[in-house]
Structures are given as structure tokens and as C-alpha cells.
Amino acid sequence: MYVIKTEGLVKQYKTLTAVDKLDLEIRQGELFSLLGVNGAGKTTTIKMLTGLVKPTCGDATVGGCSVITQPEKVKRLIGVSPQETAVAPKLSVKENLELICGIHGFSKEKTRAKIGELSEKFSLGTVLSEKAGKLSGGWQRRVSIAMALISEPEILFLDEPTLGLDVIARHELWDIIRSLKGKATVVLTTHYMEEAEALSDRIGIMKNGRLCAVGTAQELKKKAGTDDFESAFVAIVREGEI
């Protein structure tokens, strides 16, 4: 069953076509990565799927709801961790989590329980009372993903979640993302090959707003006739389509 489906999705900015007739299908419960070089259209695709940007033409359904005609219903199904850390800098970590709980209309008891649960899952106990803006990039990403999970979304969008993180912070975040598998459908954008290969059930490679190839890391390597994923990615992007 496909939880996300796009049909001829296009986003045009004046003369630039950011996303060009995108047909994409993402299965329920899978961790799907959108991979591509800068400007490939990954973030614009995520923005259209989350209702932040209106498609120029085409449509997409998220959890069976159209992003064009039912954006409010889509909002109830999704959690988003944007490319930037997107935390309230002068609020403590706890206050950031409480803010999102409040926005989703949680009771005090549910808020307390949810913060406890997420603190444990993301090991936030030691930083709960610290100002979010003072935390390192790695910790801010953790908080950002925790905030995205508060509403218990069916579909979680992670836009370049490990961008700019050091190798340890990146691996710690990978463990967290892996732990989400099976609990929600996760759509992740990245331009790190090893990240896509290590985490994803399936990978879609984008170039110039188009989807060049889709498959598991193994399938993509086989298609490209290479042994390592990076070479496969380069071959696919250079040839445009395999």
C-alpha cells in the first residue's frame, strides 16, 4: 500500500523548474530516501508533500489526502523536521517540546508523559532545561526530530537531518532514525551516499527535478553495474536515467 503518491508533480519558479513531472510512490512503513546533488529538487518535493509549497501542476496524496485540496488533513498525519534545526532558540528544550504539545492540544498529563517518553528515546534528560539555541548542532537536530514526533505522525519528513554534523553526532542520529523504522513511514532527504545506503529501505535519486532511478541500494548498484553505492549514484546522475 502506498502512503505517498505523486502524479506529474511540477513546481515552477519563473524560469526554473524545481520539480519536473515527478511520479513517486512510497510504501507504508518504509524508510525512503530522496538522494540528489544540491538543487536536485529534494527539498521542494518535501515542501510540496508537507503543504508548505503549492505545486504548479500535478497532485500528490499523503495518507490518501490531496496536498492541494486537503492540506489541513495532511497536516494531521505528518511530522516535519526541516533542513534548518527550526527550534525556538530562547526556549529551553522542555519548553520547545511543551510548545508543540500545546499546539497539538495535548492535556498537561499527556504533555508530561510525551516529554518523558521523548526525553528517554532521544536521551534529552541532561539538556531538558537548557536553552535550545545554546545546544550543539547535533543536539538541536535531536530536539528537532523529537518535536516532529510529538504528534505521533503516520509520516515523518526529515529534510537533510544530518547536514553539518560531525561523524559521531551523525551516527548517533542514524541510530535514532533507525529506531523509527516500522513505527512511521519516514521520508528522508540527503546528499550523503552512506547515509542513504545505511538507513533506507528504498532510495530515489533525483536530478534536475526529475526522478532518475528508484530501488534498494543493492538494486541501484546492480543497475549501474558498480560495487559501491557512490559510484552507482555518480553513474546514474551522469547518465540521467538507468
Partner: protein, 244 residues
């Protein structure tokens, strides 16, 4: 409820910034003190505390534009607003969530301004209460102007536009420092066309108990407030529909 949760967050962000407190509160008070000292050393009545304080409380409001514009543009640039746009918050929640915390802050700023002026020789009267309430339309104008600028410009631009340009416009065109009729000509015409002068005059009239004068000056301030608020709401909601 959602809107109040968001408003509470905005209040915390604003109040936890020491620069906001320093400029929003400290700057008008320092000016009030300086002009009072200056007045005590000159033989003619130029900066009398009873006319200076109402004007200074109007000038202080220009910092509300800076605060709201900076908060919104920071939220836009840090993608915090993007995150919130994927939650059940509605356009109305956003608008009021940004505006509501600033209105009590503006009122508090005005109250402190008047309280500070009492030991400097301000005439104590019940009219202070009317003057504090009468600041609300201009406060709404300034907050909405900040919302408008924050929806259009980035953090650095907002610093220039609201921080430098608007505070100067408010200072020079409100007639706080000097009688605008002394400048006369086009300067006076421009000043009387904009809300800063009318807000300062309305505040002075309210403080001196001249209700008729206050109403005649409050009408254009109301008009500007409604116009700018409508423009800010339209612009903010339009920007929210398409996050490039």
C-alpha cells in the same frame, strides 16, 4: 488555546532577549532623563516633562515594530515558521500569536515611562490612565508594521528598516523633540500626513485632559492602524502559502 500557547512562546522569546529590554525600555527612559536635564539648564520651555513624556511614550513604541519584525523574520529564516505551518496552527493563530504578547509589553513600556517621569516633575493626574489606554491604537500600528516588515524582509534588513529608519521617522516626524510648525513647509505637511505626529498629539491631549483634541488626532491613528494591520495580515498569510 493553540494561539495562546504560541503567544506565550513569543512572549518568552521577546522577554528573554536582553537587547529588547535595553532598547525598548532603557532608551526612551535615558532620553527622558537627558532632555529633563537639558531643560533644567535652559531658560526657555522646550522640553517640559508634561509634553515630553507623552511624546516619548509614543516614540518608545517604534521599538515594538523592531521586536515584532525581528522575531518574525528570525522565525522565517530559521525555518521555525515552516515547522509551525505543518502543524494545526491557523493563520489567525499566527497573527494574534505574534501580536498579543506585544500589546501588554507596549502598555507596560508606557506605564514605566510615565512612572519614571513622576520624580522628574510630571504632573500627577488621573489623565495618565487615559494616556496609557490611548496608546493602544499606535501600539497596534507599530506591532502590525513590524509584522509586515518581518513578513517581507530578512533579519538584517529588518534591523535597518525598523531599527534605524522607523525609529528616526518616529523621532523626527512626531514632533516629540521640537514643534513641527518651526520647521514648517513640506516637512510639517509630511509629518501631519503620517500617524507619528497624530499619535504624539493625541497622547499629549489625553494627558492634558483635552478629549476633543485627542479624538481628532486618534482618528487618523486608527485609520493607519487598520490599514497597516490589514496589509500585514494579507502579506503574512500570502508568504505562508508558499515557502520557497
Amino acid at each position: 488555546m493553540r494561539m495562546l500557547t504560541f503567544a506565550k512562546r513569543n512572549a518568552k522569546e521577546l522577554l528573554r532577549d536582553p537587547l529588547n529590554i535595553l532598547f525598548g525600555l532603557g532608551f526612551p527612559l535615558v532620553l527622558l532623563l537627558l532632555f529633563s536635564v537639558l531643560q533644567s539648564n535652559i531658560p526657555v520651555a522646550v522640553f517640559e516633562i508634561d509634553t515630553l513624556t507623552p511624546g516619548m511614550s509614543v516614540f518608545g513604541l517604534s521599538f515594538m515594530s523592531l521586536f515584532s519584525a525581528t522575531l518574525i523574520s528570525k522565525d522565517r529564516e530559521s525555518a521555525f515558521l515552516q515547522r509551525l505551518y505543518t502543524t494545526p496552527l491557523t493563520g489567525i493563530d499566527f497573527i494574534f500569536g505574534y501580536m498579543l504578547p506585544l500589546i501588554p509589553m507596549a502598555l507596560m513600556q508606557t506605564v514605566i515611562c510615565y512612572l519614571f517621569a513622576i520624580p522628574l516633575g510630571l504632573t500627577l493626574s488621573v489623565n495618565i490612565i487615559y494616556a496609557v489606554i490611548g496608546i493602544i491604537p499606535m501600539a497596534v500600528f507599530n506591532i502590525s508594521l513590524g509584522l509586515l516588515c518581518g513578513s517581507i524582509f530578512g533579519v538584517k534588513q529588518v534591523g535597518g528598516i525598523c531599527g534605524a529608519l522607523l525609529t528616526n521617522l518616529s523621532a523626527w516626524l512626531s514632533g516629540v523633540w521640537f514643534d513641527l510648525s518651526l520647521a514648517g513647509g513640506i516637512f510639517e505637511k509630511i509629518a501631519s500626513f503620517l500617524p507619528f505626529f497624530h499619535a504624539a498629539q493625541a497622547e499629549k491631549a489625553l494627558f492634558s485632559g483635552n478629549a476633543e483634541d485627542a479624538v481628532s488626532h486618534l482618528i487618523p491613528v486608527f485609520g493607519y492602524s487598520i490599514f497597516i494591520t490589514a496589509a500585514a495580515v494579507i502579506c503574512f498569510l500570502k508568504r505562508g502559502k508558499d515557502f520557497k
